[in-house]
């Protein structure tokens, strides 16, 4: 069982898929010879030849060619370097990839995986800081994942590649060079979906995904020391979303639900999670929603920190919520 950090785990998953799934291709801007701007795809080009290649700065052609190749039986894995760049070619995801299976009445399919990364990192500009998962979760026909650990990064990628629909896998670049952990790399591919109960406690259920999960877990631990025990449910898959697990969990936590995400609050996927719980009748009282304040993201880290939920805000929010 290799010890891998997040980027190493993604790399290992890509390697495994390239080895075991001959239909895979891997391409995007700077992913081959340079090994990716974050080094995630290092050495794959050396080992898999022309199945791994660099492309022009042409997001529409990257995504569109992946759609076309997938229609013909390939399983392309392509990279959009920053989630913000999806926006120059979102058509290929929403108008094209998402429609293919349904509109052809199942005669065609588009089993492609798009890797990207998103979110803010210190001094990233407003055009390199957005969290855009809600654009994809509002698009029927797409699958969406957003892992936060090396193991999940590995598993999500393998599941995505074996899945028969277009999947968007969203990393957060601040995770790439985090701590190493032992990663199981030889398990059979799992179906997509699922969630993890990362902490258990009766005070409330906190749902979270992506990089901010780590802050939520740290907060939960801190609160546990302060005598407040929370359940934390991490949902690396947003579509399919594990509403069942959440709703079961809410039974044990008195229907008290908090959602924490880095995306800006209004229209973020957190709202959907809350409404589904409400509709299912498993919610009790007012929920708590912690997201980035509705704003553009300023470059100066101290300014950004005033908008994006950090440790203190999450701690204060959850503490008050658990008490209330």
């Amino acid at each position: 069982m290799p010890e891998l950090n997040y980027s190493g785990a993604v790399n290992a998953a890509l390697r495994r898929c390239l080895e075991q799934v001959p239909e895979t291709l891997l391409y995007g801007e700077d992913v081959a010879k340079p090994g990716g701007v974050h080094g995630v795809t290092r050495r794959l080009w050396k080992d898999f030849g022309d199945r791994v290649f660099d492309t022009p700065i042409s997001e529409s052609a990257i995504l569109g060619s992946a759609v076309g190749a997938a229609m013909m039986g390939r399983r392309p894995i392509v990279e959009i370097m920053w989630a913000d760049f999806f926006l120059v070619a979102l058509d290929q995801m929403v108008n094209q990839a998402a429609n293919i299976r349904y509109v052809s009445e199942g005669r065609l399919k588009a089993p492609l995986v798009v890797r990207t990364q998103q979110g803010n990192s210190p001094a990233a500009c407003a055009q390199h800081s957005q969290n855009l998962e809600a654009l994809f979760t509002h698009t029927p026909g797409l699958r969406v994942a957003i892992p936060s650990t090396p193991q999940d990064a590995f598993d999500v990628m393998v599941s995505a590649v074996y899945n028969d629909d277009p999947v968007v896998v969203i990393d957060n670049r601040t995770l790439y060079f985090g701590a190493k952990e032992n990663v199981v790399t030889d398990a059979a591919p799992k179906p997509i979906g699922g969630s993890h109960v990362r902490r258990t406690g009766p005070a409330a259920t906190v749902v979270t995904w992506g990089a901010i999960t780590h802050q939520v877990l740290a907060t939960a631990d801190r609160l546990a020391e302060e005598g407040v025990r929370l359940t934390v449910l991490e949902t690396p898959w947003l579509n399919p979303f594990d509403h069942d697990a959440l709703h079961r969990s809410l039974v044990d936590t008195g229907g008290r639900l908090a959602v924490v995400h880095e995306a800006n609050t209004t229209g973020g996927f957190g709202g959907e999670v809350i409404v589904r719980a409400l509709e299912a009748g498993v919610l009790s009282g007012r929920p708590l929603r912690i997201g980035t304040d509705d704003s553009r993201i300023p470059a100066t880290p101290e300014l950004a920190a005033a908008l994006i939920p950090g440790a203190d805000r999450i701690h204060a929010g959850l503490k008050q919520f658990a008490a209330g």
Partner: protein, 313 residues
């Protein structure tokens, strides 16, 4: 050209035209609903170009794609059925006039986003490089689509990787209700593709023989590793952009001039000159097409029961 070839082409073009006219009638009667883009006047392109494609090749078209689907050999009944919202439609009525596919005939779909399908063809050729078919991919779009960034990206992408993709631009002089000459400074659209490194040629898109020969030659070169190529077919639509467009933006003179050069008029004159009974030919094809429409009309409606299927695997 042999008379046989001429007759075959005329027949093939009539099949498309009669199909489109039948759709016009079915639209009038309310059986076909919604926005429909006919290719009347542009039949020579599909008839000439599709001959260069083999079974494993892939074609990607636009909303003005009925003729191209027929060109690839898709039978008429399931096409009619698709536009009529029948369960027997090529996509069970999900696609409709503007966005259907028939992959079993190498027709990988129309596209209702201008320029949206060009990069799909690039991907299909890319797939062919790895799946052992060496597949040629062809994509067709209009003159107006040349101003869409996605088309530029697709051509460059294919060029960089030397992929066997043929980009066919059907220049019918209009984008919806606006003339292309007002929307470009340099009307030589081929130069755009040439600048990206694609052999690019402008041809008479009203002559199926010219189209066939040009496309076949480029297809061969592409299959041999020559990379993508671009062909501009000069043609015209004899009808509105969509059914109902009354074409106020065109003069009667222009429409009349177009009528003189349009492919069926020209081919009919040619065939008649060789002693062919073109009237009989036309009647024969119309009967065949009408029969297909009749059958499709009798087919069962698309099943509402299954409407939620096929969103995901």
């Amino acid at each position: 050209m042999t008379t046989d070839r001429l007759v075959a082409d005329l027949r093939a073009m009539w099949r498309i035209r009669a199909f489109e006219e039948q759709i016009q009638a079915l639209h009038k009667s309310g059986d076909v609903r919604g926005s429909v883009h006919l290719c009347i006047g542009q039949e020579a392109g599909p008839v000439g170009a599709c001959d260069a494609l083999t079974e494993s090749d892939a074609l990607f078209a636009t909303y003005r794609g009925h003729g191209w689907a027929i060109g690839r050999g898709t039978p008429l009944r399931p096409l009619f059925a698709e536009l009529l919202g029948r369960a027997t439609g090529v996509n069970g009525g999900r696609g409709g006039s503007a966005y259907f596919s028939a992959p079993e005939y190498g027709f990988y779909g129309e596209n209702s986003i201008v320029g949206g399908g060009a990069s799909h063809a690039v991907g299909a050729a890319l797939a062919g490089k790895h799946d052992g078919t060496g597949r040629l991919a062809m994509t067709v779009f209009g003159d107006g689509a040349m101003n869409q960034g996605a088309v530029h990206e697709a051509m460059n992408f294919a060029a960089v990787f030397g992929l066997p993709v043929l980009f066919l631009c059907e220049n019918n002089r209009y984008s919806e209700l606006t003339p292309i000459r007002d929307m470009v400074r340099n009307e030589a659209l081929t130069e755009r593709a040439a600048a990206l490194g694609l052999p690019a040629t402008r041809i008479d898109g009203n002559d199926p023989a010219v189209v066939r020969e040009t496309v076949a030659g480029l297809a061969e070169a592409a299959r041999e590793g020559g990379g993508p190529a671009f062909v501009e077919l000069i043609t015209q639509r004899l009808v509105g952009h969509y059914i109902g467009d009354v074409q106020q933006y065109r003069t009667r003179d222009e429409l009349e001039a177009d009528g003189l050069v349009e492919p069926i008029a020209v081919a009919t004159a040619g065939a008649a000159g060789s002693g062919v009974d073109t009237g009989a030919l036309e009647r024969e094809v119309r009967a065949e097409v009408a029969a297909a429409a009749e059958q499709a009309l009798a087919d069962p409606a698309a099943e509402v029961r299954t409407v939620k299927e096929h969103l995901y695997a």
